[in-house]
Symmetry: C2
Subunit: 355 residues, 2 copies
């Protein structure tokens, strides 16, 4: 099945210097893939030339004259950057010229613009950010990782449906287990919203495992972990910080004096395998779920390999029809009377006021 | 200055087998310390004998006939275990026979019983759990780590005052920096409660750094990090899980075949130093702040060294008059009109209904 992905080639900390070679790598690895490289004409042509490549029937430049800044406000991006690489890439999905868009640009602007242009799927009130993380036994899909700081129990249920459907689609798992992130052993056992979300999940046809705690995430206790975007963003960034600190400590100890450097040399293979198992580049590419179109957010600091991973995720979501399946699942739960909001209502373009 | 600490010697996964030798180590290291060993008479005497020790003027057994289970409900603990080692240890603080109590028992029961028996300090609505974590540049005090799942902005301000006062007292820092845990780069930038807490913190005389994100915790961006107990518990347990996974991965790679084992042998010193920098035993002992008495919670799985660290933390809180200083600081902020709740109101024993 041929796939067409619109790439915001200007986004991220490194822009075309990373996105262009990553696109070339991806095209070489996936013969069914077609890319629309969106951005300023000159830098893109120059970068293609630097890699002895040019436009062809699988790789076309779509010119956009603006760039959304990495710290730019979402309102500013929507109002004043109507010809940005990010916006044009999303427009291409809206127009049906691309089946997905990938951007390493700023998360807030990407989510806001995608919501504004594409709207949410019927029955979904709020899209969510869903990323894959390594675990002891494989990997876990976690959402929301920062799009929605305050969530209702119903929204957490919607996240669970989207995450579960994504895993079922791209991993081929029939009934992925879903854990609700909570605090367990303390006096109160969770906040009000999470308690109510647990009740909704119990009633749903999802394969609800029950509450999980922070330490269950990397244990891989469940296939999906659901939480609000505040908690998700905090645990994700805390994990990044801790992994980096541990990596740095190990490096410091291995470079402290001659004997340690010798040990490092002898341990080269071990450390390489260790790093590979945790390599965040292999997990890059978060799905913005719940939109009427596939949008994948790459980490801003992604390098060539990491950005290529994000492209591959987008292709996989296309191939496995993730959005159609989410739409079907939401409709099914409405028909079962398990979702309160009416699809038609929830799909109203609440964000147009932002424009 | 002599210190007297009541030790719940039955608490934790290992009970007297860990607490008793840890107490002996602690007494040997701190000549000013006195301990009241609370628990079942026979196991405690047996464990003392095993270490060729006996009661003396610095170490006395206080008999308690019950034990609170590690999974026991807080209400059950308060109602049916009035002679538990945990309850008696807290009672000793209430009666002024001890200046602090240390327990590795279950967090919910410990916090609930301590609130019920000791009550909160005037002006403090809810006590919080504050632990020390290693950072790149030293250490950070984080609270609340699980006592309060839903918090008001005012409560977060109270946590900030308590954390800041604790660091000022035990670390001798004049004006510790305080960070408010938030999510930064996304569209919404925090939930409603955190936004309002930020406004209160700006107006307060605390050395408020501003918002921090998850990755700032282990960077050591601030001396204190404040969050609600849901978020705090999740990031703490996620960190424990991630650190354990990374440690296990490293171990697995170092034992994969003969060459790797050779590398491990050569790297012995490096790995030992690496582990020491992250050794959670050196950070054991969370302060239950905001009570009319010093209570330190040890990790349930603490070993001899870890439990001894918790005892040393309690001694340090006594020596530095942490609770008096928190009381003074709260009073000062009330007089400045920066705290809304009246001290007298907040101190009302709301938990007596539980008994």
């Amino acid at each position: 099945m041929n796939t067409v992905i619109a790439v915001d080639a200007m986004g991220g900390d490194h822009g075309p210097a990373v996105t262009v070679p990553a696109c070339l790598d991806f095209l070489a690895a996936d013969p069914a893939a077609h890319l629309l490289l969106v951005g300023l004409a000159e830098p893109l042509r120059r970068e293609l030339a630097r890699h002895r490549a040019s436009e062809n029937d699988r790789l076309q430049i779509v010119v956009a004259t603006q760039v959304v800044g990495m710290d730019e406000d979402v309102r500013s991006a929507i109002r004043t950057k109507k010809d940005s690489s990010m916006r044009v890439a999303i427009d291409l999905v809206k127009e049906g010229r691309a089946q997905a868009c990938v951007s390493a640009g700023n998360t807030g602007a990407l989510m806001g613009t995608a919501k504004f242009v594409l709207k949410t799927l019927p029955g979904i009130e709020r899209p969510a950010i869903c990323a894959v993380l390594p675990t002891r036994s494989g990997q876990v899909y976690a959402l929301d990782l920062g799009a929605n700081a305050d969530c209702t129990p119903e929204q957490l249920l919607q996240f669970a449906i989207m995450g579960s459907t994504l895993v079922a689609a791209v991993e081929g798992k029939a009934r992925p287990t879903v854990g609700l992130l909570n605090i367990g052993s303390e006096e109160i056992k969770g906040n009000t919203v999470v308690k109510e979300a647990g009740e909704l999940l119990k009633k749903s046809p999802l394969n609800f495992y029950g509450n999980v705690e922070g330490n269950d995430i990397y244990k891989g206790t469940t296939d999906v972990v659901v939480c609000d975007g505040f908690v998700g963003n905090v645990f994700l960034k805390t994990s990044e910080g801790l992994a980096k600190m541990m990596g740095d400590f190990l490096k410091e100890e291995y470079t402290r004096g001659v004997l340690s450097k010798l040990a490092a040399a002898v341990s080269y293979g071990v450390i390489k395998r260790f790093r590979r198992r945790l390599d965040h580049r292999r997990y890059n590419g978060a799905a913005l779920l719940g939109l009427r179109g596939i949008v994948v957010k790459s980490h801003g600091s992604a390098d060539r390999l990491a950005f290529r991973t994000a492209l591959a995720r987008a292709a996989s979501e296309i191939t496995h029809g993730v959005n159609d399946r989410i739409g079907q699942e939401i409709t099914r739960l409405h028909e079962l009377g398990l979702l309160a909001a009416k699809p038609a209502e929830a799909a109203k373009p609440a964000d147009e006021a932002a424009a």
